[in-house]
């Protein structure tokens, strides 16, 4: 298989404009003859569904929650980047492009990232017009902040709830189209397979989560906007329902999976408190603007936040400030996370588990006063207190890195189409524009860029080239796919084993975290592979799922998702094994600089690893899309 990224020719800044001109158009009167299926109604899906419906296409949209408003995008806190340069501080489309490429450790496509930076400005206009209440200055104009160590203030935000406000904006646009009858919305409905007819994606199989009924839906194109797969680690900052099922089933139908091992671990999360832990809570990265990260110089097992005050200044190691004097506590996420792990691995971690470092606001409170700190971070401090039961005004917070975002996903070309014709992937579900590491405030930007401003153009090019004829769901392809799904469900229900789904999922998560988490080794990854295969056997012979298919059965839903996570886990390990360099969120211990920083290998690994499914229990085949850097000179990232 030859991977064709369809990157347009020409100068970087003109590629998208030219490409838009070259794309075929669907005549306005003909648009209503095409049906588009949109799976997922988070930022990417809701914006796409609304925009396509506005153009005149008939859209069917699906989500597994009871309402599109609850998609995981709602949880994003910090903000969204856009190259508006409202602050006159030297920002530009090119600078946003450059920062994003560099932040991604030079593992993203230049053309895509530049397009992302270009349309970023339109996103803000669109959202404001929808009534998204972004933060404003007293003069009434939009406010910005700098985020994630960027040197310009280009992040737009709505208090600590930017994702919520953006999603509610997209949700309102979607609602308008639902009311217009142009979008038919299916909630509490999970997609369980893609249906191909003559090699093209022409429909999906879904399960109604309330009644268990399986249904076929046909359309001219299928968009997967189903989010990221961080929950393969069981513990992550993702919502409990976030899953890889849609992407994975598409992968098994022929869509290549890009860079599965690229995982982002966020440094400022609330540490695990016990075996009961069900998910991890992120606290905005903005805390690192004022908080200082430290551990004791000599190991003090079990050190609590209350006792921290008694540790004299001389016995504290502010390790980020020590190692990275110029960026200090504001180094990118991957660097901050890895260093916290290193401290804990040395035994200098704090708290009852030893898996935490301090984030100390004592100096900020001394300098600016408690009031000022409360004004900036009050809601985060409350959240911390609510969850941990510790008062962060009195002692330092404890933080530990947690899985947060997955840069990997379905491989797509410049038009966002996967390797299956007619099957698109948008938002976090695609392998995206973030390379090996995502900068803060750029996922929201990408999701909305894909949905509002890319897919409405690129899908027309495909639809204009295919027949308007609808395919019937009576075709054998649908029947076959449905039977297969039915079989999987029955198999799971008939195992009647002893291990609960959560137990097995936790076990998978632990394997992934220990061997394919913040740092990875050849030996560890090989061990992990064996363990995952073992776990897969255990799952298919010993999982306990009660009840039937014909009812709301949350254990069954979880079981099907975990089954897919297990298979994905193995592919992530394969990908991590293959990539013997370190880059961004992927740190191979074998590949580091003398002072322990990630060491990239551009000669051998400047490619997107796209994996092809070859059949159950068969090794997947690697395809490489070379990344050509025509416009930017690659350098070793340094934050010293």
């Amino acid at each position: 298989m030859k991977l064709d990224s369809k990157i347009p020719e020409g100068p970087l800044a003109e590629k998208w404009t030219k490409h838009k001109f070259n794309l075929k158009l669907v005549n306005p009167a003909n648009k209503r003859k095409y049906d588009v299926i949109v799976v997922g109604t988070g930022l990417a899906g809701a914006s796409a569904a609304a925009s396509l419906a506005e153009l005149g296409y008939n859209v069917k949209a699906f989500c597994f929650q009871d309402s599109p408003r609850r998609a995981h995008s709602i949880a994003a806190q910090g903000g969204i980047n856009a190259a508006k340069n409202y602050q006159n501080d030297g920002d530009s489309v090119y600078r946003l492009f450059y920062d994003t490429i560099k932040g991604g450790d030079y593992r993203a496509r230049e053309s895509n990232v530049h397009r992302l930076a270009e349309v970023s400005v339109n996103i803000i206009d669109q959202c404001v017009a929808q009534g998204v209440p972004f933060a404003r200055e007293y003069g009434g104009l939009l406010a910005n902040r700098s985020f994630g160590g960027a040197q310009v203030s280009r992040t737009f935000y709505a208090r600590g709830q930017t994702g919520q406000q953006l999603l509610l904006g997209a949700y309102s646009a979607l609602n308008r189209q639902i009311a217009n009858g142009k979008v038919k919305m299916y909630t509490r409905t999970e997609m369980l397979d893609v249906v191909l007819v003559d090699g093209k994606a022409r429909g999906i199989i879904t399960r109604d989560l309330v009644t268990g009924k399986l249904e076929s839906h046909s359309g001219h194109a299928v968009l997967l906007c189903t989010g990221g797969y961080g929950n393969v680690f069981f513990l992550s900052t993702n919502a409990k329902g976030s899953n890889v099922t849609a992407s994975w089933r598409a992968h098994k139908k022929g869509a290549l999976f890009g860079n599965p091992c690229y995982t982002q671990i966020h440094p400022t999360c609330i540490p695990v408190s016990g075996d009961h832990q069900s998910k991890l809570t992120l606290m905005s990265e903005s805390l690192r603007n004022d908080g200082r990260v430290w551990v004791p110089k000599v190991a003090k097992p079990g050190l609590t936040a209350k006792e921290a005050k008694n540790i004299p200044e001389a016995d504290r190691d502010y390790f980020l400030e020590r190692k990275y004097p110029s960026f200090g506590n504001l180094v990118p996420r991957d660097v901050a996370s890895r260093n916290a792990k290193m401290m804990c691995d040395e035994g200098r971690g704090v708290g009852k588990t030893g898996l935490a470092v301090f984030l100390d606001f004592t100096d900020a409170i001394k300098r600016d006063g408690k009031k000022a700190v409360e004004a900036k971070y009050g809601n985060l401090f409350d959240m911390y207190a609510q969850i941990t039961g510790d008062n962060p005004y009195e002692g330092p917070m404890m933080i530990y890195p947690a899985v947060h975002y997955t840069m990997g996903g379905l491989w797509v070309d410049y038009n966002l189409m996967t390797t299956v014709p007619g099957l698109y992937a948008l938002g976090e579900a695609n392998f995206s524009d973030h390379g090996a590491n995502r900068l803060g405030a750029s996922a929201l930007m990408q999701g909305l860029a894909d949905g509002y401003f890319v897919i409405p153009y690129t899908i027309g090019d495909y639809l204009a080239g295919i027949s308007q004829e609808k395919v019937s769901t009576d075709r054998p392809e649908f029947k076959e796919a449905m039977d297969k799904v039915n079989n999987t469900i029955n198999t799971i229900l008939n195992i009647k084993g002893k291990r609960t789904v959560d137990e097995l999922h936790r076990e998978l998560g632990l394997i992934m975290w220990n061997y394919c988490g913040m740092s990875r080794t050849d030996a560890g990854l090989r061990e992990a592979k064996g363990k995952i295969q073992q776990l897969k056997k255990e799952f298919w012979s010993n999982v306990a799922v009660l009840g039937s298919n014909n009812e709301l059965n949350q254990e069954l839903e979880k079981a099907m998702r975990v089954a897919d996570f297990i298979e994905l886990g193995e592919l992530m390990v394969d990908d991590a094994l293959n990539r013997t360099e370190s880059c961004g969120g992927h740190f191979r211990e074998e590949s580091q600089t003398p002072d322990g920083e990630a060491l990239r290998n551009d000669d051998d690994f400047s490619y997107v690893a796209a994996w092809e499914f070859k059949g159950e229990n068969q090794p997947e085949v690697l395809h490489k899309e070379e990344l050509n850097y025509e416009f930017i000179k690659r350098t070793q990232r340094s934050y010293k």
């Binding site: 609850r70 998609a71 209440p133 919305m185 909630t187 409350d382 969850i387 005004y393 306990a544």
Partner: protein, 268 residues
């Protein structure tokens, strides 16, 4: 900062008795079942405690208790349990952010689904809140298409107004207001959206129509009439204020008296 005062020493050895509403589906009758549960840690969230219960139940061959949840961060609005006579339990937060340190060793905790005619029970503690979506679909938007909009800074919005709109916009659509209200009124929820868009210049052109359509849909869904008891505000995890309800009343009244006729679609 009230929550900081009552912080208790951590333990992982509380005994709790749970009285949980079980109902197979909407067509069958439900009832309470009692489950003793041991070794509850004060650090657990309420939902984590239910996870423990569910895993125990499955191991014993009993169906797990169905409940809605997703983000577990207090923002998606999916979690919705009526705990000891209050929506989202004793603290003014979401169920997922409620922790077991809010309870005492030996406590009996009664867990019920949201109760409202417009929120029928689907199973156990899961209810159908799509009525909320239909209300939003009736008019909770600004009618603009993607693209072709003015520059974001073209219309300055006074910070005060933007902040007030924001305060209304933070509603998470959880339905605690309905669950708390003796009239099962959805006014706080509806008023939050109407307020947000009535305050912002972008929402002004359609404000009359919006208020009329959303209220008509709210009525069609079978929610009760507001009698200003204030239970919604007291229980809303996001602190949506009653001021919004007054604004909705004002918007609706002035719309009724001055708008052009609008077509209203019935609910179900």
């Amino acid at each position: 900062m009230n929550l900081l005062n009552g912080l208790k020493e951590a333990t992982n050895n509380m005994k709790i008795t749970l009285k949980v509403w079980r109902q197979k589906n909407n067509a069958t009758k439900g009832g309470f079942k009692v489950y003793p549960i041991e070794h509850v840690s004060t650090d657990m969230s309420f939902l984590e405690m239910l996870d423990v219960l569910n895993n125990d139940l499955v191991r014993k061959g009993e169906d797990a208790v169905a409940f809605d949840h997703d983000c577990r961060e207090g923002i998606c609005g999916m979690c919705s349990l009526y705990i000891n006579g209050k929506p989202h339990g004793p603290q003014q937060t979401t169920t997922c952010q409620l922790h077991m340190r809010s309870f005492k060793d030996g406590d009996t905790i009664t867990v019920e689904p949201w109760r409202a005619k417009a929120f029928p029970v689907i199973r156990d503690l899961v209810v159908d809140r799509t009525a909320f979506d239909r209300i939003q679909q009736a008019g909770g938007y600004v009618s603009i298409n993607t693209g072709g909009v003015p520059d974001a800074n073209e219309i300055p919005i006074p910070k005060k107004i933007a902040d007030e709109a924001f305060d209304a916009a933070v509603c998470i659509g959880c339905g605690a207001c309905v669950a708390a209200c003796k009239n099962a009124s959805a006014m706080l929820f509806v008023s939050a959206k109407v307020s947000q868009l009535a305050l912002l210049p972008q929402g002004k052109p359609e404000r009359k129509e919006r208020a009329e359509k959303m209220v008509a849909q709210m009525d069609a869904e079978g929610f009760g009439a507001c009698t200003n008891t204030g239970a919604c505000e007291a229980e809303c995890p996001k602190g949506i204020s009653l001021t919004n309800i007054a604004r909705l009343n004002r918007e609706y009244l002035s719309a009724s008296l001055t708008s052009y006729e609008v077509e209203v679609k019935g609910g179900d």
